[in-house]
């Protein structure tokens, strides 16, 4: 291969390299550095190799949190994807209703995450919250998310679905709008039912946006922190302690930087791995040849 006589052009990459270094590489290196040392205080640290990794991987509280996290993300996807598609299908296609619906649906996405936790904490408080007090006093169903693990889960799920389904709705709606009218016309002429039209036209044409929605929802729900932290603080007991809440407990509340670093890296690898698996799987969906 011929060599370029002048390689100064590489200097143009430098600004990006610096930005990426500060935003990603340096913090990551710091975490890797922590994960292999036992830190007692400033300037007092001992290299411990893979000890923290072994300890964290064997930690049954981490196992519980991971298991909880999978159940949570699984439920999120199971509820939000179909619900989002349903809402998108029900939304008006033209006229003034489109703008009204889009803005209304998108509102939860505009609220800061801490605020969402606070809103739902107040909304579901068993003594004064509209939902909580309503359940207890009007419906006669005992409800207390600070005391009962199932109530806590229901509350967190409701909040999550309320907060993030709009994202799926917006993406599915965009996907639906991008389908040319002629496909629907052909389906009508072929005598297709509404269900066939959905199955053979709408769903395949939405595959791209739904793949992205699926990945985004998986990642975000797997990394969820602020809302459950504000709402339940991981309780009652450990029943809503998801991975990131547990991580913060170790790294910031107990100040165990070594185990925290090891945990972070394990967490990071899990997210990457699952995103890769899902992405590959979704790319292949419906690509096989069959009769």
């Amino acid at each position: 291969m011929e060599k370029w006589p002048n390689n100064k052009a590489w200097l143009l990459v430098l600004p990006v390299f610096v930005i990426v270094a500060f935003s990603a590489i340096i913090p990551l290196m710091t975490v890797i550095n922590y994960s292999v040392q036992d830190i007692f205080g400033p300037g007092q640290s001992v290299f411990v190799g893979t000890e923290w990794f072994r300890e964290m991987l064997a930690d049954h509280r981490l196992h519980d949190a991971l298991w909880r996290q999978f159940v949570f993300s699984g439920l999120v996807l199971l509820i939000e994807m179909p619900l989002g598609i349903l809402i998108a299908l029900a939304m008006p296609k033209k006229g003034w209703g489109v703008a009204v619906c889009l803005v209304t649906v998108a509102l939860p996405l505009l609220i800061p995450w801490n605020t969402i936790g606070t809103i739902w904490m107040i909304f579901t408080r068993p003594d004064i919250g509209l939902f909580g007090a309503g359940m207890n006093n009007l419906m006669g169903i005992p409800f207390d998310h600070t005391d009962n693990w199932l109530d806590a889960w229901i509350t967190v799920m409701l909040m999550e679905v309320w907060h993030w389904t709009p994202l799926v709705v917006l993406m599915a709606y965009a996907g639906l709008r991008a389908i040319p009218e002629v496909y629907y016309q052909a389906a009508r002429i072929d005598g297709a039912s509404a269900w066939s039209t959905f199955l053979y036209i709408q769903l395949p044409k939405m595959r791209g946006v739904l793949t992205i929605a699926f990945l985004l929802r998986f990642m975000d729900s797997f990394l969820i922190y602020a809302e459950p932290f504000v709402l339940t603080g991981g309780g009652p007991g450990n029943s809503t302690t998801f991975l990131s809440i547990y991580l913060v407990k170790i790294a910031l509340l107990q100040f165990d930087l070594g185990p925290g670093g090891a945990f972070s890296l394990i967490y990071f690898v899990i997210v990457l791995l699952f995103c890769f698996i899902f992405y590959q799987a979704l790319l292949r969906v419906g690509k096989g040849e069959k009769v």
């Binding site: 040319p180 002629v182 496909y183 016309q185 052909a186 009508r188 002429i189 072929d190 005598g191 297709a192 039912s193 066939s196 053979y200 036209i201 395949p204 044409k205 419906g286 690509k287 040849e289 069959k290 009769v291």
Partner: protein, 361 residues
Amino acid sequence: MARIELNEVVHSYLPKPKSESDYALKRIHNVWDDGGACALLGPSGCGKTTLLNIVSGLLTPSRGRVLYDGKDVTELPPEKRNIAQVFQFPVLYDTMSVFNNLAFPLRNRGLSEIKVKERVLEVAEILDLTPFLNKRAEGLAADAKQKISLGRGLVRSDVAAILFDEPLTVIDPQMKWYLRQKLKDIHEEFKLTFIYVTHDQVEALTFADQVAVMFEGEIVQIGSPQDLFENPEHRFVGYFIGSPGMNFLECTIEGNEARVDGAGIVLDEETAAKGRKASGKLELGIRPMYLEVHARSGDGMVKARVKGVEDLGSYRIVALMLEGQTLKARLPEDKPVPEGEVWLAFPPQWTKLFADGRLIS
């Protein structure tokens, strides 16, 4: 198979049309015979697709009735009309195999799997799709895709008519010829009613035995390709059909002559008599291939000047100036190319007179 009748059909996309220009279709009154191959020819935006969608039931006309074999179907949705439509861009069910694509309209109508298979295999054979049956429709070439769209119409043996909405737009030129031939063969074999929308005159004239020319929401002439070429009833037909289109010269009538400023062109007596009675803007029309160009003056000829010559291989187009108006003549390649001043002869049988765009006859 059916005879399709449009009875005083008018359509506007606006809820409350006010003026004439708010109507996409002005007044269509037309019959397509059972088993005919008909083309709807017209420029983009003249209402061809609107008309086709009204026939198939995708649109309900503002006024007027649509009849299939005398039965009023105006209010019926497309799935109840038993009609097939092939669109400009191939419409496929991407995730299905070619077989399932072809079987889809039959399965939707509740046919037994045995009959579905029999019918699909038969149609695939006709369309040369048999090798692709187990392939996914997504990855095929444009012409194969368009054949599948066509196949979805053909599989229903009782289909009333197949409507084509510029089906060859996305097909490569050499495949276009092959597919057009295929369509003709299928038409001859099954005697189905075909209605073919296009803005390409070659396509319309080679495909159909009856061509309806549309212009601004109206059918201005229906006839055989030869009819449209030799006897255009509307200025637009003359201009749109033929390459290049008909020449038009503004004129006045004096006696048996059409006067184009200084020059007098002799018309046949009948035409001239009607021309004298006609009102509105008068125009003389002649096809470039019928306009004779001579080097020497002769009886009834008028003088013109050659502006330019365009060589198109098998023939030449000569641009001429006659009293400040431009004319085109089509000369066979073996004829010498005239230069400078020439003399034009207008054979009376090919010289037409139009008043306000409509033929005087």
